[in-house]
Amino acid sequence: QATLFLLSLSASLVSALYFHIGETEKKCFIEEIPDETMIIGNYRTQLYDKQKEEYLPATQGLGMFVEVKDPDEKVIMSRQYGSEGRFTFTSHTPGEHQICLHSNSSKFALFAGGMLRVHLDIQVGEHTNNYAEIAAKDKLTELQLRVRQLVEQVDQIQKEQNYQRYREERFRQTSESTNQRVLWWSIIQTLILVAIGFWQMRHLKSFFEAKKLV
């Protein structure tokens, strides 16, 4: 089991994207997902070593804070991990989830003026399934496993399409509401203009009459 985990972790990060992060910097990624979808994120950090002039795996004390917010801006996960880690969460509402990473270093000298290199890989939905485990647990033949993979993929596509339908409906509601509001605001503004015009003329007329100019 442990070897399986290590294999999958290192395999996914070998050709992963990386970026540099400063000590107090926070980097945020947005994942727009349907509900009941699992997300697994793997990251690996490296610190720049001035003497060897290259990036080496970070020291033990250096970790990363991972904070996940759901579409309603509520924090659903806020945990600290080591210099290498994996975080998992499952969405309960469809929408834009925000995953933010920042380092937990409090000693400003630790980075030695350099940056921390973070390798990151985020897997969504059916990509999170560990087929090795599934094959072992359910004792599947290769054909059965392949078909299971296909079923999971189609499931994911279907979930995504349902979510798309829900988003399109909300989008249409916003458009229609904007359209209505443009119409109403224009009508109200015209009425106000006309009313103010009348009021001005009447007020000025009575004012001039009082001053015996008219």
């Binding site: 990386y18 947005i30 727009e32 094959a135 004792k139 054909l143 392949r146 443009v182």
Partner: protein, 223 residues
């Protein structure tokens, strides 16, 4: 003799199947916030003779545009865009780390949300084991010959479904951009209509007041 030929065909088919499963195309997509006046860079390690395709879109933020450039490990800028809203670039790669950056320094106030998708092909040189689950598979299937055909079909369906998922991701990015645009439209309409009305009322009040004060001050100059 015939049995030998069939056996040979089986072995060759198996080999082909195994190599087909190994040459994979990896892709990942990310959506991130790019603060105003900042530049964000990402790096991707590549091998020789692989291909890197990057597709990006700006989803939110006034103007919906961003600067983009992609540079090779030797420092050459192989692709660059100036204030574009979306773009696609494909490069044949050499060994090393490719860097691509999204530049929002031209904007002082608006934060952008950028979506990008990386599609890597031919990354594998046949040595890594992407599908290690094969070791955990139990038993054998009957009718080996027919099974090879089935496996071929299933593999191609899997590849196509993967492509469908990718296309869905792109469509989702388009829709997110349109939705953000609409929502900012809505807010704009509300704000400016309200401001308009307030300004109108104030201006009419000021007009009336000014006119009245014109006539009242004349009292001093009249002799």
């Amino acid at each position: 003799m015939e049995v030998l030929l069939v056996r040979l065909a089986l072995v060759v088919a198996r080999l082909l199947l195994v190599t087909a499963a190994f040459s994979q195309s990896l892709d990942s997509d990310f959506t991130f916030t790019l603060p105003a006046g900042r530049k964000e860079c990402f790096y991707q390690s590549m091998k020789r003779d692989a291909s890197l395709e990057i597709e990006y879109q700006v989803l939110d933020g006034a103007g919906l545009d961003v600067d983009f450039y992609l540079s090779s490990p030797s420092g050459h800028v192989v692709a660059s865009d100036h204030r574009k809203s979306d773009g696609v670039h494909t490069v044949e790669t050499e060994d090393g780390d490719y860097m691509f950056c999204f530049d929002n320094t031209f904007s002082t106030v608006s934060e952008k949300i950028v979506f990008f998708e990386l599609i890597l092909d031919n990354m594998d040189d046949g040595q890594s084991e992407p599908e290690d689950w094969k070791e955990f598979v139990h038993g054998t299937d009957m009718l080996d010959m027919k099974m090879e055909d089935l496996m071929d079909t299933i593999n191609s369906v899997k590849a196509r479904l993967g492509k469908s998922l990718q296309i869905q991701a792109v469509l989702r990015a388009f829709e997110a951009r349109d939705r953000n645009l609409q929502e900012s439209n809505y807010e704009r309409v509300n704000m400016w209509s309200f401001t308009n009305m307030v300004v109108m009322v104030i201006v009419s009040g000021v007009q009336v007041y000014l006119l009245r004060s014109l006539f009242e001050d004349k009292r001093q100059t009249r002799t």
